[in-house]
């Protein structure tokens, strides 16, 4: 009889998946820089279009920074499950003893780590380009740190729903943007509130609450959507 070795645990499966994604990122370093370049481009275009008026730039800085991060995230959202669906990896996830929702959660985390987290890291630089006052930088970083994982989790549900379709780019955007609106409102709103001297903690707490709820529910929903898309 076959001697089954140690069953894969949640931790071992997560390590395998994370190590895989980080190795793939390293092999395709050029792709990794894309979200950053895109966000940089959006910010630069806004600055050019607004005509180099520092006062005006400062006023719209929070909205532009948040939009650039959101659009960069939207651009990379389709790659969340697409590659794994096309090469059959998703089929093997479905057959793994580890719950699919857990694998989805790990994948969303690694996708966030490789696409959104670098953006959070360079956001002080983008903020500098827009002339955001330094006093608002901590609020911007906090809102991005809470908001970008929330965007990834909400996006994962829609990406899972559309993974069975060949070309889902515009449909994905249409479906996911309404879900992104509250995150954008509270994220950019937190920075704008602190710019006007108000307390930003209310908006940040709401983002945090949204993050907690979606961390629990989004992987389960996305896993169910993948099962539907696969059959």
């Amino acid at each position: 009889m076959n001697l089954p070795g140690p069953r894969p645990t949640l931790a071992s499966a997560a390590t395998a998946l994370l190590a895989r994604d980080l190795k793939l990122l390293w092999r395709r370093r050029g792709d990794a820089a894309q979200p950053i370049l895109f966000a940089l481009l959006v910010v630069a275009l806004f600055a050019l279009a607004l005509g180099g008026n520092p006062e005006l730039l400062r006023r719209v800085a929070s909205a532009v920074l948040w939009l650039s991060v959101l659009l960069a995230g939207l651009l990379s959202l389709d790659t969340l499950f697409r590659g794994d669906a096309e090469d059959g990896s998703l089929e093997q996830w479905l057959l793994s003893p580890v719950p699919l929702a857990w694998l989805v959660a790990v994948r969303v985390f690694s996708h966030w780590l490789t696409t959104a987290f670098p953006l959070v890291l360079v956001s002080p630089l983008l903020a500098e380009l827009m002339g955001l006052p330094h006093a608002q930088l901590p609020v911007l970083l906090a809102s991005l740190a809470l908001g970008t994982p929330l965007l990834s989790l909400l996006g994962a549900v829609v990406a899972a729903l559309t993974v069975g379709m060949r070309r889902s780019g515009i449909l994905l955007a249409l479906l996911v943007l309404p879900l992104y609106v509250p995150v954008l409102v509270f994220g950019a709103g937190a920075v704008a509130a602190s710019a006007q001297g108000f307390d930003a903690s209310g908006a940040l707490l709401l983002l945090g609450a949204g993050l907690v709820v979606s961390t629990l529910l989004a992987p389960l929903t996305a896993a169910a959507a993948i099962r539907i898309a696969n059959s």
């Binding site: 076959n2 070795g5 069953r7 499966a13 793939l24 395709r28 089929e91």
Partner: protein
């Protein structure tokens, strides 16, 4: 059931029927595979061999009928413990090396004791290609890599969808040797093939799938 053994069949399906958009694909059909036995699922292109395997693997839901694994109704827990699936999609990452791919898949599925990914590569004849990126491997070599994954899998029931495709004569012999060794260690295999040109030299039965759904099991 046409054959009974004293043990439960590893995999059994009863009155299994699958339709796609109200269009019958196959069934109702009955089949079973015992430990130490290979079932060759034959039939021309488009008769539903792949669909049948995907239903048995749990990737598709049957419209009617029951699937039992080791005597229990097949759920996710039974399937993940008993079934390993080799489909048309290789589940390999193009930008990872052969060995790296095996490590990832072992992380998801576990592996048999005393079986290391490096040894599995040697068994399928990929020694020297451990670090070669999958995108640099030929179609046949990718198939061999997938076979190495099956070899490492702790699951006793192998569902092999066209395992002979893309393989040279040596590779076909390799598949047959691997299936034989797997069955000797108490496993079972379902193998789809569109011809009878390559059958493993083991206790096997043929199951012919046809449009007319004349499910027949010949001894």
């Amino acid at each position: 059931m046409s054959q009974t053994t004293n043990a439960q069949p590893l995999l059994a399906a009863r009155a299994l029927r699958f339709t796609r958009n109200d269009d019958p694909v196959f069934g109702p059909l009955d089949l079973h595979v015992d430990a130490g036995e290979a079932l060759l699922v034959q039939g021309g292109n488009g008769v539903g061999k792949t669909t049948l395997l995907r239903v048995l693997a749990g990737l598709l839901r049957a419209d009617e009928g029951t699937i039992e694994i080791d005597g229990r109704a097949a759920g996710h827990e039974e399937r993940s413990r008993f079934v390993a699936y080799l489909g048309h999609l290789p589940a390999l990452k193009q930008d990872l090396g052969a060995l790296e791919n095996l490590h990832v898949l072992c992380g998801l599925h576990g592996r048999r004791t005393r079986q290391m990914p490096g040894d599995a590569l040697a068994i399928v004849g990929l020694t020297g290609h451990e670090d070669a990126l999958v995108r640099q491997l030929s179609a046949g070599q990718k198939k061999r890599l997938s076979l190495a994954r099956m070899w490492l899998s702790p699951a006793p029931v192998w569902l092999l969808d066209e395992p002979y495709a893309n393989l040279d004569l040596d590779g076909i012999n390799l598949v047959n040797r691997m299936i034989s060794a797997h069955l000797r260690s108490g496993g079972a295999a379902l193998v789809t093939t569109h011809g009878a040109y390559a059958a493993p030299p083991v206790r096997n039965r043929t199951f012919t799938l046809g449009r007319a759904d004349a499910a027949e099991a010949a001894a």
